[in-house]
């Protein structure tokens, strides 16, 4: 159990939701918190990126994106044939699990802070890079030839959807400005990060509480999937990170990245590209089940895995 205090705010939100408290985070505040988190993470990544010769990352990047692409390709048949779910739903859920969660990732970074562990900062870049193949594969699986895909609209949704755009934008600004240039912004974007993350988790809890119910309707299979899938993805990440010679922290973060499921970028993109998929299923699984699993149990487990494999 991870006693990182920020996750207690998630509990606070869930409880408020379940007890039908009138607590609400206004929509515009939620928007502002996500803009803040996305920009802050992006800036952080950009600053880190500026420290490395980008060339060196191309190879690692390619490997990570290719391995990441395995996730939706494994998830789809499981959902379709074992779970007996519709093609559209299977594809949409696969896309959610192929892409990543900025907040889960942030909780992971927070834990590393506590553990005083270093990590390869440029890993943040994969918050952006892993979205694209996941969503594209998801759509292809859903369409599978038949039906027309509005690729233009989809690609626009993916690249210029606010979450990816802000992450990428932050990366570029952080990269161009560098640690020195960003310093005047540290007090807002870095010093306040954990506090804002706590508030965001409070809102996530409020929303998750409404999703857990939705999930219940869809039985144990999906619930099981929402726990087993991240464990599988995390293992992929552990092995990949270890083979690429990442530090313990980096290996752990890559696992967390793979294990996390999207509930911001993917839902919006899938709602447009695969409208016949039921969003309650994908969001219910990723937000109602996988997200809490990851921040409470998954993350400590992944850290243990990373430490163990490096102890070999």
């Amino acid at each position: 159990m991870n006693f990182e205090p920020v996750v207690l705010f998630f509990v606070l939100g869930v409880v408020a939701g379940l007890l039908r408290s009138d607590l609400k985070i206004p929509g515009s505040i939620y928007e502002a918190l996500s803009i803040f988190i996305l920009l802050a993470i992006g800036l952080k990544g950009g600053v880190e990126l500026a420290k490395h010769p980008v060339g060196d990352l191309v190879f690692d990047g390619l490997i990570i994106v290719l391995v990441g692409a395995i996730i939706p390709l494994v998830a789809f048949p499981v959902l379709r044939f074992i779970g007996r779910m519709s093609r559209a739903d299977s594809a949409s859920i696969a896309a959610h699990y192929g892409s990543v969660s900025v907040v889960t990732f942030s909780v992971g970074i927070t834990l590393l802070g506590h553990e005083m562990l270093e990590f390869e900062g440029y890993l943040i870049v994969f918050l952006v890079l892993l979205e694209i193949p996941a969503l594209v594969i998801g759509v292809i699986l859903a369409r599978h030839g038949e039906g027309t895909v509005r690729w233009g609209k989809l690609m626009h949704e993916v690249f210029f959807g606010k979450s990816i755009y802000l992450l990428a934008g932050g990366l570029v600004i952080g990269f161009v400005a560098g640690a020195e240039g960003i310093k005047p912004l540290d007090k807002l974007f870095f010093d306040l990060f954990k506090g804002v993350l706590a508030l965001f988790l409070l809102e996530m809890g409020l929303v998750a509480s409404t999703r857990i119910a939705a999930l219940r309707e869809y039985g144990v299979f999906l619930a099981g999937f929402a726990v087993v899938m991240p464990m599988f993805s995390a293992t992929l990440g552990i092995v990949t990170g270890w083979m690429l010679g990442f530090s313990v922290g980096g290996t752990f973060l890559l696992a967390t990245l793979f294990a996390s499921a999207s509930y911001i970028a993917a839902p919006a993109a899938m709602r447009i590209a695969v409208p016949e998929a039921n969003p309650a299923l994908s969001i219910g699984a990723s937000l109602g089940m996988t997200f809490p699993f990851n921040i409470f149990l998954g993350i400590p487990i992944y850290l243990w895995m990373a430490k163990t494999i490096h102890a070999i």
Partner: protein, 96 residues
């Protein structure tokens, strides 16, 4: 005061469709539209607007019966199956 009889078409749908629906509506020849935020419940369940793409929007278009029915038909054909969508018209007197 010279008033003109027209229809007010109110469309309640998912916020995520905003840009797409506006495109359709203008393409069908509407002179304008008004949008406001909403939340609610219907056959697609509660839409609290809590979640980013989880809210509703209300799109209102004032136009003649012909425009309204063409919009209704287009939206019904393309979006009714997969999205929360409610449309209704009410006769209004345009005052300016």
């Amino acid at each position: 005061m010279s008033s003109q009889s027209l229809l007010l078409l109110t469309i309640l749908s998912e916020a995520v469709l905003e840009d797409i629906l506006i495109e359709e509506i203008m393409a069908l020849g509407a002179k304008g539209y008004t949008i406001s935020e909403a939340r609610g419940r219907g056959t697609h369940g509660v839409r609290t607007g809590k979640w980013t793409a989880g809210g509703n929007i209300r799109i209102e278009v004032i136009g003649d019966a012909e425009l309204c029915s063409s919009i209704v038909q287009r939206l019904q054909a393309k979006y009714e199956r997969d999205y929360g969508l409610l449309m209704f018209t009410c006769p209004v007197e345009l005052q300016n």
